[in-house]
Symmetry: C2
Subunit: 479 residues, 2 copies
Amino acid sequence: MSRETDDLAQLTKTARNKNPAPEEDLEDLALGEDYALNPEYVPMVADALDRGDTERLRDLLSALRPEDVADLMGFLSAKDREELLPHLDPETLGDVLSELDTDIREDILEHLPSATLAKALEEMDSDDAADVVDDLEKDKRAQVLAAMPEVERAAIETTLSYAEESAGRLMQREVVAAPQFWTVGQTIDHLRRESDELPELFFDVYVVDPSYRPVGAAPVSHLLRSKRDTPLAQIMEQVTEIPVDMDQEEVAYIFNKYNLISAPVVEPGGRLVGQITVDDIVGVIQEETEEDILALAGVSDAGRDAGIVGIVRSRLPWLLINLVTEGVAVTVVGAFQAEIAKLVALAILMPIVSSLGGNAGTQALTVAVRAIASRELTPANALRIIGRELAVGLFNGGAVGLMLGLGTWFWWRDMRLSIVVALAVIANLFVAALAGILAPIVLDRLGRDPAVSSSVVVTFMTDFFGFLALLGIAALILL
Amino acid sequence: MSRETDDLAQLTKTARNKNPAPEEDLEDLALGEDYALNPEYVPMVADALDRGDTERLRDLLSALRPEDVADLMGFLSAKDREELLPHLDPETLGDVLSELDTDIREDILEHLPSATLAKALEEMDSDDAADVVDDLEKDKRAQVLAAMPEVERAAIETTLSYAEESAGRLMQREVVAAPQFWTVGQTIDHLRRESDELPELFFDVYVVDPSYRPVGAAPVSHLLRSKRDTPLAQIMEQVTEIPVDMDQEEVAYIFNKYNLISAPVVEPGGRLVGQITVDDIVGVIQEETEEDILALAGVSDAGRDAGIVGIVRSRLPWLLINLVTEGVAVTVVGAFQAEIAKLVALAILMPIVSSLGGNAGTQALTVAVRAIASRELTPANALRIIGRELAVGLFNGGAVGLMLGLGTWFWWRDMRLSIVVALAVIANLFVAALAGILAPIVLDRLGRDPAVSSSVVVTFMTDFFGFLALLGIAALILL
C-alpha cells in the first residue's frame, strides 16, 4: 500500500505539472467562491478582444467551462460577443449555445455563418440541437440543415416534428436498450462493443420486449455491482413511461413526484423512442415556476437582455389593462361624489380599504396558484380549501377591521365612522378571499393558466368592492 | 433470434400472470393519466378504514407507490391518516415520511410510537432520516434515537450537526470512492464484492487521492463501456467540489449551472465526506422559488394542511404592516383634504394613479428579485439594469399617462386636470421603477432576502408618491 501511495503521489505531481502556473491563476480568478463568474473577469476579456490579443484570449477562455462562457456572453456588449465567437471551437460553441439565454442566443445565431453553426450542431445532443434550429429564421434554417450530415439532420427534423414544450422536444433520441433475456455480463459486453454509438451519459439501461416496448429499467449502478450471470429481468425496476406528446409541465411533475433520474419516452403504440433525464427537468421546473412568478406580477416574459423595447412590450399591456379595470372600479367613487364632498375622511380611508383587500386577495391567489401547479388543490379538496380561505378572510377581516376602526376612532373620534370602516374592511377581505381562491380555480377549469390573469380579476374585484363597501355603507349609515 | 423472441414472449406472459386481474384494475384506478392521485381513490380508502376492512386496505395500498401514499395522506382527514399508519411496513413508512408535506408529517410524527419510527428511520437514507428526526420534539427525539442501532444513530447525529439548509444536511454520507491508480476492472470487481455496502443508487465513482480528497469522477456509464484494463485516471472527469457548509441555494445554483448529476461534498481540508445528487436539488429549487413567490405575495409560509390558525399566522402580520404603511401614505391625502373637497374628481383619479404605480413597481421588483436569485443581476451590470428600468418607467409612464389624460379629458373636458393626472402618472411610474429596482438590490446588499420585504417598500412608495404627485401637482396648477 505504501508503494502504491508513492506511485500515486508521483501521478498527482505529474498531473499538476501539466498545467502551467499562469493558467491556474486565471482559473482561480475566473469564478467567485460560489462558482458565479467573477465580475472583474468580464473587462479582462473585453480588453483582450479590443486589443485583438488572440493568445491572451485563448488563455482567458481556457479557464472557463462552456457554462461560464455562456455567462460571460450575458455580460459582454453585443459587439464583443460577436468578436468572441470565432475563438470558440465547434464543441464549445455547441455547449455555449445550449446554455445561453434565448434573447442573446437569437442575436448570436443571426451573426453566425451557417457552416460554423452546422458544425457546432453536429456536436450537440439531438434535443439541444433542435432547440437551436427552432430559433433560426426560415432561410437560415434551411441553409444550416443542408450543411449537416443526413443522420444528424433527420434527428433534428424528427424532434422538431413534436409539439413545443412536449416530451418529444425534451427527450434525447439516444437511449441504451437491452432485451429482457440478456444477463448483466451480456449487457456489459454489448456496451463495451458499441461504446462509440452510446449517449455521452446514461443512467439506466431500458429493458425492452420484442416490440421494443420498455418493460423495466436496470440502473447502471445495479449493473455494475451485480454478478455477470445475473439476468437483467432480476435487477430491473419498474419504469414510468412518458408519452411522447405529454406536456413538459406534466413530465416535470412526474419526475419530481417519483424522484426519477431518467424515464423512457414512448410512442402511442408503446415503442421506446427516447429518454428524458432529470437534468432536462431542472430547467423545465425553473422555466415553469419562473413563468408563474412573472405572470402573477403582470410581466409577460422578458429575458435579461430583452432591451427596452422588449421590456416595454412585456409590461405595458398589463398596465393598460390595469388602467381599464381601475377606470371601471372608480366609477363607484364617481357615484358617491356627493358623499365624499360631504365627508372627506372617506377619501382618506378609501385607499386603505382597497389596498388591504388587494393584499389579502394576492395572498389567497398566490397560494392557490401554487397549490394548483403542484396538484395540491384538486377537485377532491377544492370545497374544503375554499371554505378555509373564506374563514381566513373573515378572521383576518375582523382583526384588521378592528385595528383600522380603532385608528379611525383615535383620529376622528367618530364612532359611527369607525364602525363603517371596520365593516367595509371585513366585507372587502371576504370578497378578497372569495375572488383570490375562485379566480384561479375557475380559470384552471376553463383550461387557462391561472397565474396569467387571476391578478387582474382579483385586483379589480377588491378595488371595486372596497370602494363600494366603504362608500355604500357610509351612505346608508352616516349620511 | 426467432427462438429468443419466442422465449421472451413466454417470459412476458408469465410476468403478466403474476399480477391477478383485480389488483391491475386498482392500479389503473389509483392514478389519473397524468400520474396524479385519482380523487375517487380517496373515499375508497377512507371507506375501507371506516369498515376496518384490512384486506381491502392492503389491496388498495399495494396499488400505490410510497409517493402516492404520501399524496393520499394529504387528502385524508387527520383521524383517517392516523388509522392508516399501522398498515404501512417500515420501508414504505420511511419512504412516505420523506415525501410528506412538513405540516402533515409533524402531525403524524406526534402519533407514531417511537419503536415504529425507529424501524422506519433505519430503512431511510441518512439525509432523509435526519430530516425526520429534526422535526421531532426533544423528548421523542431522544427516545427514537435510543431505539436505533449505533451506526444509523451516529449517521443521523452527524448530519444534524451541520447547519440547516447547508450542503451537509442535503448530502448522503454513502459514497463510492476508488483510488486513482485502479483500473475499470478492479473497480467493478470491488463494487461486486462490496455490493451490500453500497448506496442504493449512484451515478459517479469518485476518484480520490491518498488523503481521500476527490481528484475526479468516473461516471458509471463510462465505467460500464470502458475496457477492464482502462485506468480510472483516463476516464475520470473534472469534479465540482461542494464545501460541506455551503448554503443549499448556492448548491442548487451550481448544479443547475453545470447540469451536474452528482457532486462530491468535502470538509474544509478537502476530504470527501458525502455526495449530493440532482434529485435532492430538484426539491431545493422548488423550495427556494416557492419561498420567493410566497414572500413576494406577503405570505410567510404555510403548507397545504396548515389549518386556519397557521394560515392566519402566515398572512395577518403582512396585512397589519400594510395597514400601517397605508396609514402613513394616506396622511398625504389628509394634508390635501381642502383640495379634494373643492374638486372631488381628484378622489376618483387618486386610486388609479396609485394602482398603476403599484403594478409597475411590482413588475420591476419581481423581475429584479428573480434576476438576483439566478445571478443575472450582479454588481457588474447593476447600473446598466437600473438605467434600463428607469427608461422603461419613463416610457410606460408616458404611454399610460397619455391614455389616462385622454380619458380624463373625455370625462371632465378639463384640459388642465388632464395634464395634472398625466404628469402624476409619469412621476409615479418613475418612482415605481426606482423603488422596484433599488429596493431588492439594496436589501440584497444588506444581506436580507430581497423577496421578503421589497413588496412592502415598493407598495408604500408608489402609494405615497402617487397621492403626493396627483394632489401636489393639482394644488400647484389647478387650485
